[in-house]
Amino acid sequence: MNYIQNLVLDNYDLTNEKLENILSAACPKNIDFADLYFQYTNSEGWQLEDGIVKSGSSNIDSGVGIRSVAGDKSGFAYSNNFNYENLISAANTSKCIVKSGQSRAIQLGNSQNIRKLYNSVSPLDFKTDDIKVKFLKDIDKYVRDKDDRVEQVIVSLAGTYDSILILNTDGIKAFDDRPLVRFSIMVILKVGDRRERGSSGGGGRYSYDEIIDTKFAYEFADEAIRQAAVNLQAEDGKAGSMTVVLGPGWPGVLLHEAIGHGLEGDFNRKKTSAFSDLIGKQVASSQCTIVDDGTISKRRGSLSVDDEGCETKCNTLIENGILKGYMQDKINAKLMNVSPTGNGRRESYACLPMPRMTNTFMLPGEFNPNEIIESVKDGIYAVNFSGGQVDITNGQFVFTASEAYLIENGKVTKPIKGMTLIGNGPEVLKKVSMVGNDLKLDDGVGTCGKDGQSVPVGVGQPTLKIDEITVGGTQV
């Protein structure tokens, strides 16, 4: 069901004519464009710690964001109240970005038929609460039975059903219903006085049954135990510049930080990115082809339409090392005279949309992963990461490894403690000398922050080798 149609439009008697009037109020003659973003989000979370499911939570957040755009200026207001009068008043606030002119008539089209990348079914309706609680208890028991070094297990299950309607002065009327579920597990193992953590999890735009009725969660539980056990053995690593091999999948956070943010349209229109004016230039080694693909069915970072009603696409950012294009929302695309790329996203109705990533990954190369490791005499093999950050202006980025090993004479040897890697975005991908044939996408846990707004994203990559990057160990 679509919450917006049933709980909002019908309930508050918001007819097409009234919606047209609200848009019209937000878009007088000297405003170029206005849009309305209706949202009704129902979310819940269940968490187990210390062996018991202590608490569950449920949240409903709903409202309408109203934006008025003139050139590169945006006026914005929102309302938590769906009464027609409140929405007209918010529209009048939004248009104050420019001195008001006469209002003009807006005609809405029929609602669009959009390509569906996920089912319009609320995951929250799928399993009863007692099943979710039992599931978390089963996982906890499984972990505690499996390893007697377990000191703590924290398991959580979260689901969201996000129902939206986008209306704009181009006549667009697009509904989208977005399910999103996530399973997470953190295990602490203890030996003597030493405690170490392993974390894992996954999810996507589907229902709880794909987590609860499968082996999925048990595999993540095994993975969390394995990581914690590896970290119990980890020794202090070295500091300095060295060769690093990154494993497939989640280490793709490299791409998200090193180039992804720098290729967002707003920064490039304003020329504040280290990648500004580099279209057509070599920014990575010729083995690197990188895409941002919002169209993969059921993935965490995918959207049937973006938050401005544009269909998402698979956009090639870098092809054989050459920079091909930026990720755009409507405003920045228009100001840069290119087409929108389906990357206009917002955290909620209460925030302005911006160009954001969806699922960002590198396509596979020709090398066998073993070949890549064997080629390294002295270096680091990093397979799990806990996050990253970038300064898009000077290109400096970091990402923090949570599971890493030494490579000695072509072999993976001792585990080393987690550490931060730092590099320069436009330079680091030129140092990618081998790309593996083992492309893997992450398991569906990524969240990206920009200007205080969080959105779910995906990353991925094959195994790859960076000839030189600075590594933050403690030993010199």
Binding site: E49, I52, V53, K54, S55, G56, S57, S58, N59, I60, D61, D72, K73, S74, G75, F76, Y78, N80, A90, C96, I97, D129, K132, V133, E151, Q152, I188, R195, E196, R197, A239, G240, K270, K271, T272, A274, A350, L352, S386, G388, Q389, D391, T393, N394, Q396, F397, F399, T400, K417, G418, T420, I422, G423, N424, T470, V471, G472, G473, T474, V476
Partner: protein
């Protein structure tokens, strides 16, 4: 641009009306926050965005024989509040019992608070706010011709009301305001760009730093970044700026939070009454500071907040405990369902010229990434700063890492500067810490 008050007392009446009829089998807690305001950004001498916000959040916690349920909503109609209560009650049917769970029994607030020195509403005209942001940005551009671009100047205002009610008789309400003005400047030299920012924030509009001064500082900061070089890998003393020092102290505060302790996920487990810092270090919580960025009279459960010494002469005196974690650990609740204002102090005089005390080492003013592990204390982050030789800044350094272990870093604090950052909820000056590994070139 006039604010029309948040009228939180309307909701008090509504909630009291509802909770008379609640099922007495449960105990209930209602946490309400209402906030309204706006954000104005100007860039390239023109207004870029004006965003108005108006937020409401009602969070309802219920306890049902030691079982807990939680539900929240932003729709405050009576009908919807009742639905939300039912939802929280339903959740509590399915969660498991834990006899440490429940409302606080005592020491909770029973009044409305005025005169906390954090509520200074002021009607500002939007035109004046736009001019203020334009002037702020203009001052950055005026500073130097290498200031090539900007991300603009932003002013934001919000007026907030908070209320708590629970069925044990706690009631508290207070208002606050927040104003801030910031500027992000970009500078370019030899085709390389840098960015940096400066900001001022206050509860009282009158105490905000002048826009011209903010723009000028943003420009000075970004200009000083131009021409950054890398460094050789080394172990040396590091001076952390007040902002970076606050982030290190926040890692300490996370590690002594009750929830990290009872989950056994902290490197400071079983360390109360042990020496964590050198003798001269004192860390104190002051919840009721006038104009304090985190001032509040009661915590998220309605327990009264109080002044306390967290670290006394280097010794950890207490964990930070809410009702649940205090029962779990069999300690006294410290009213730390939230953390308020923290002050880092020294029993020795604060150092006024701390860069000369550093003498030879690195002065770190920016760090990136999430490399502080509060389970093990392992610390590794990306950094930007300046090489200091003979007590003087030589040149900016970039693409380096800072690594150590938080336990060692705390013990290795050598001096505390007097350059205290009053904008931050953690009030500290620069910290000089010995024996840090800097990763750079070979």
């Amino acid at each position: 641009m006039s604010s029309n008050g948040n009228n939180i007392l309307i909701y008090k009446d509504r909630l009291e009306g509802i909770y008379k009829d609640l099922n007495k089998k449960y105990s209930h807690e209602f946490n309400l926050s209402v906030s309204n305001g706006y954000t104005v950004t100007s860039r390239s001498s023109e207004v870029e965005n004006i965003e108005y916000h108006e937020d409401m959040a009602l969070n309802i916690t219920v306890y049902n024989n030691f079982k807990k349920g939680n539900a929240s909503t932003n729709n405050l109609s009576s009908e919807n509040i009742i639905k939300t209560i039912e939802k929280a009650e339903n959740i509590s049917q399915n969660t498991q019992a834990d006899d440490c769970q429940g409302l606080p029994e005592s020491n909770f607030t029973e009044k409305q608070w005025d005169n906390l020195g954090i509520y200074y509403p002021k009607d500002l005209e939007v035109e004046n706010v736009i001019e203020m942001t334009k002037d702020c940005e203009a001052e950055a551009f005026k500073a130097d011709k290498r200031i090539s671009n900007s991300e603009g100047s932003t002013f934001s205002f919000s007026k907030n009301s908070h209320m708590i009610l629970n069925t044990n008789g706690a009631y508290g309400a207070y208002d606050s305001t927040d104003y801030s003005l910031s500027c992000i400047a970009l500078a370019e030299e030899n085709k390389l760009m840098e960015r940096d920012y400066w900001y001022s924030s206050s509860r009282d509009f009158k105490k905000l730093e002048e826009g011209s001064s903010i723009g000028k500082k943003a420009a000075e900061r970004v200009l000083s970044r131009l021409g950054a070089r890398t460094l050789k890998t080394q172990v040396c003393p590091v001076l952390f700026s007040p902002e970076m020092s606050a982030s290190i102290i926040s890692n300490f505060l996370s590690a002594i939070n009750g929830s990290a302790i009872y989950k056994k996920s902290s490197f400071l487990l079983d360390k109360v009454n042990e020496k964590i810092f050198p003798d001269f270090v004192n860390i104190r919580e002051e919840p009721l500071l006038v104009n304090g960025p985190a001032t509040r009279p009661y915590d998220s459960e309605g327990v009264l907040t109080e002044n306390k010494n967290i670290v006394d002469n280097g010794i950890l005196k207490t964990y930070l405990l809410d009702t649940y974690s205090s029962r779990k650990l069999k300690m006294d609740c410290t009213g730390n369902g939230v953390l308020t204002n923290i002050t880092m102090n020294s029993s020795e005089p604060l150092v006024s010229d701390i860069i000369s005390t550093l003498k030879n080492g690195i002065y770190i003013t920016d760090m990136m990434g999430s490399g502080a592990n509060t389970l093990t204390g392992d610390y590794s982050r990306g950094a930007f700063g300046y090489l200091v030789e003979n007590g003087e800044i030589q040149y900016p350094v970039t693409e380096i890492t800072v690594a150590s272990n938080l336990s060692q870093m705390f013990q290795n604090i050598v001096a505390l500067g007097d350059d205290i950052d009053l904008r931050n909820r953690i009030r500290t000056g620069s910290l000089l810490i010995d024996n840090i590994t800097i990763g750079g070139t070979n």
